[in-house]
Subunit: 354 residues, 2 copies
DNA sequence: TTGTAAGCGTTATCAC
DNA sequence: GTGATAACGCTTACAA
């Protein structure tokens, strides 16, 4: 047995220095002052620790402390740019606070989601951030979610009453509709994502509300699509283009759906914005280089990330019992080139006064 | 003291059943057969476990087993679609094999990267997947990387001789140049990412090799840009457009750079492909809806993810000493609409036979 | 100012 | 077939 190559550990370090593990632990965990460890031993320990490249085992530490400094993040699709950007913000803030973060992709599948949550819970994460699949009746994760602090993001779960952060999907849709109405559009269609899902339904509600505010009809046949994929967007757009009463504008409720609409429109030889106007949810880097550049509803992703982490850390620190807080952040419209003005400024000049 | 609400644990379950923790552990870890636990106790334990929703504490388990079933993934920018898609694949495969994965965004910063690696190492990950920042001389993570299995992806570190998986950046660039040359282009410029970085330099090397194969000059002034951001792409493209000897084609070495080129070209009122041809690295969902759709070099992201995980699990299972394996996967060119043919098919029809 | 020892929740070794 | 019990590497009363 070669004893020279013991894996660096607090214990081995103590042995090498002829000190007790207690003393070493106290210094390494920054409690040297509190325990009045002498300057010299403190320095000896620190020097040796750096020299040997010692990294204290957080596993053992966590077991003892009942706290892992670890968070879990479960999102429906990492490769969706919206969620990718969100994940980036969350991880960055978490790292700055000393937390490591587990990530999982639920693939928009409630079973996978439940499995991922369990996996993280078993690793004793201190808290969980969840952008739930959220198809109704998906309470599989329910039992688990009560055990540890958990904050929802983007999509709320009406049934669960958990704290949550999301952008104001409804107001965003209202903004879009108003923008279109002001430019003379009357028949405004929706290409939706997953019906039954919080964000989607809120956006639909916003569309309804915006239409009604303009005294416009909002029949169900103006709503098409199901699922947040490009293909779904293509299909929905094709349906809309073939309508006898073709809409003059389309509101796409997701960035992938917008891509689908663009693709369908190109296939059909329809021109944007000349023959069809388009407003889409979620700003993307590519939204300025499509032709035309897309007018979009932007969600404050950075702020969403910041606040959801803040809220989670609050829940971890404080009591979990207080009424679940919900933070709704405003969306805003960014005007680019995909909307045509049908009714130009009231043609006063063409209307000779009597 | 209320003893009724003990947190569900292997121990509490054993107590409730009047069994020893040993027995319960054996059953719960699937070793019931091996230890010849009787059918009845086995069933009793399983039933109780499911009933109480017990999730065994992987923390304690890992401490004992010296194995966490946890991996670490460090990438330079989660919101870059290439890395987002890669992360998705890796996480998915890891999950299927029972591994949880830590993610971190190194922000293209070697110090952040080192910090993230340490964070994960301290959590005793079984292995690490790293897309290193890779600016030369970035050996900060070095000491750590020898301690645990680690596989590089996308960018190799010549200095470190670690196992790695990446696409064939060089061959991809050769493909692009050949495609352009075949269509009559002679002055082909490069908009590069971070010089000194593996992927970037390989692509530049491929460009050189392709140019030389066609007996074309490849002066340094045809290479512009530094950094993988859109802004860098815009700046580089502007420089190229103002050149007295303006190139007829541009090779963008990253998807964000391609966006930058598109933006710059639009600002300058230059038409693609009529006045400038463009080939870009990395396929993206939006690459078909730009105008024109982009001709691109596609990396096999799914396969990269699959193989890097496979390689890592091999290293975890087997000995770490064998020579570090490197897998280089071929890239391919997808032709769309951003390249113009300068030399049309030999005009035989206009060339009346004698 | 430092050491001793119990314990975090699990698994493996040895008994019976 | 099952149960004691000693680790795993760390923290923290309690002693000294």
């Amino acid at each position: 047995m070669q004893s020279g190559t013991a894996p660096p550990s607090l214990k081995s370090l103590a042995a090498a220095l002829g000190l007790s593990t207690a003393t070493v632990s106290r210094v390494l965990s920054g409690q040297g002052e509190r325990y009045r460890i002498s300057r010299v031993t403190r320095d000896r320990i620190l020097a040796q620790a750096h020299g040997s490249g010692l990294v204290v085992d957080q596993l053992a530490r966590s077991l003892r402390l009942r706290r892992t400094l670890t968070l879990g993040l479960v999102i429906p699709d990492i490769s969706n740019p919206f969620f990718a950007q969100l994940a980036r913000q969350i991880e960055r803030h978490a790292r700055h606070r000393g937390y490591a973060v587990f990530i999982a992709d639920s693939e928009e599948d409630a079973a996978v989601e439940a499995q991922a949550v369990t996996l993280m819970l078993s690793r004793q994460v201190d808290g969980l951030i969840l952008a739930p699949v959220g198809t109704p009746g998906t309470g599989a994760a329910l039992h688990a979610l009560r055990q540890r602090p958990c904050v929802l993001v983007d999509r709320l779960l009406p049934e669960h009453s958990l704290p949550a952060v999301s952008s104001d999907h409804r107001q965003g849709a209202v903004l879009a509709v108003r923008h279109l109405v002001e430019r003379g559009h009357r028949r405004i269609a929706c290409v939706q994502g997953s019906p039954g899902t919080f964000a989607n339904d809120e956006r639909i509600a916003g569309w309804r509300s915006g239409m009604q505010a303009a005294a416009l009809a909002c029949p169900d046949w103006l709503i098409r699509g199901s699922g947040y994929s490009i293909e779904a967007g293509v299909a929905a757009a094709h349906e809309l283009l073939q309508l006898p009463q073709r809409p003059s504008a389309v509101l796409a409720l997701g960035n992938l759906l917008a891509l689908g609409v663009l693709r369908a429109v190109r296939e059909a030889g329809v021109l944007i914005p000349d023959e069809l106007s388009l407003v889409a949810f979620d700003d993307q880097l590519w939204a300025t280089v499509t032709s035309p550049p897309l007018t979009i509803i932007e969600q404050p992703i950075e702020e969403l990330g910041r606040q959801v982490l803040e809220l989670l850390l609050e829940r971890i620190a404080g009591p979990m019992n207080d009424p679940p807080e919900r933070r709704i952040l405003p969306a805003r419209l960014i005007e680019r080139g995909s909307v045509r003005s049908l009714a130009p400024i009231p043609p006063a000049s063409c209307n000779p006064s009597p």
